[in-house]
Symmetry: C2
Subunit: 206 residues, 2 copies
DNA sequence: CAAAATAGAATGAATGCTCTATCTAATGAC
DNA sequence: GTCATTAGATAGAGCATTCATTCTATTTTG
């Protein structure tokens, strides 16, 4: 049901590509983009080096594909907030804050994230992917806030993205942090940002 | 004046080490810890490979020394806030926010920062340095806030560190951002966090 | 003279990538 | 339906290069 009539070979090809990407992501996460080698990736997913090069023309191409995959995943985690009532939006955002700060499988906090940010500073192609995908995420989130009737959504989006980015860095730099207390404060901040009052200091406390 | 009577050779040795560290930092920033090679670093600072190994026993040692150097620099940029009057503290903090978000030579935003965060996830020695130095910075900043008579300094320190970390990530992901507007809002947030009111939402607007 | 500083060749492993060869499966002709 | 042709999938050896590291030899300096 709902299956498009893709030829068997095409389907197999796509499955293989997905498999390679998963292996590559794992290796890149563990050893870094430059630390991981093509031969290791190929070996780990049970194919030959030549075969891998049949699907990806260069290591750079593979890196970029993995970056795109990760960024798309982040975008999807934002898309999940579309079509929520303003009330549920606030609840779910608080939930996401929780997830980012406490679990290890959260898209915002993937191991690859800092690797990507570092790589973007020296690889223009990666920077382009990063920035273009961030733009899409921003536009998506802005329109979510706008639909929820929230004022000045651009600034609030930037504020929230800043805090989320910062949280994952803090989790690395201060892992023993007693999280429960800080979490409550951060959630408060997020909810306050999601309020429909202007974000400037005077007005927020008016 | 104030010079300790270090022997000439010791002084020369330290100068050489500093020179190597500067070259290594440059190469690591441009090509990453794993992308940069010992031979390139040695060549760039005009010494032989063997000579470099005379000062640093391994590449890992060199990496850790560079990480320590960068972290110490960040710590110093916080130490600069010690012994300020509460009034000046607020002013200088707003200034720092400005600097982090707009310039490229700001210690918090060094190219190496994300490289270090990525490396810390796979190299326990680097993680240890990162976390230990972060602890020192936290304690320093907490005591600064405490001396300024600010309530619950631990939470406020964590909040501010989170925002600063997030800002440098945002600068990479959204470089075309119109910064002036956001900057004003962020500065307001920082100043509000530095206020002596409790940080919880209800009380802050009481 | 002895100890530290320095150079640079040499080592062996690992790197990204290419090349050729085989094998499998889809397609077309009759 | 059956055989021939072709296109894609796959393997793995091989290439040149670079890597981190070590070794030995030479120069400089205290």
């Amino acid at each position: 049901m709902g299956e498009l009539p893709v030829s068997k070979t095409v389907a197999k090809r796509e499955a293989r590509i997905a498999e390679i990407l998963a292996c590559a992501e794992k290796h890149f996460s563990i050893k870094g983009f430059h630390g991981a080698g093509i031969s290791g990736i190929a070996a780990d997913c049970g194919i030959s080096v030549g075969h891998l090069y049949h699907y990806f023309g260069s290591k750079d191409e593979l890196i970029q594909a993995v970056v795109k995959l990760e960024m798309r995943r982040q975008d999807e985690s934002i898309a999940a907030f579309e079509n929520l009532s303003p009330e549920n939006l606030r609840i779910e955002m608080a939930e996401l804050t929780n997830a980012i700060f406490s679990t290890d499988e959260e898209p915002f906090r993937t191991v690859l994230n800092f690797e990507i940010l570092a790589e973007a500073q020296r690889n223009p192609d990666v920077a382009e992917i990063l920035q273009q995908q961030d733009k899409q995420m921003r536009l998506r989130f802005v329109s979510i806030l706008r639909r929820a009737g929230i004022d000045d959504p651009e600034t609030r989006t930037e504020l929230i993205f800043t805090i989320f980015s910062g949280l994952s860095a803090r989790a690395l730099r201060h892992p023993q942090q007693e999280r429960a207390a800080l979490l409550e404060v951060i959630k408060d901040v997020i909810l306050k940002i999601l309020g429909d009052k202007p974000v400037t200091s005077g007005a927020a406390c008016a």
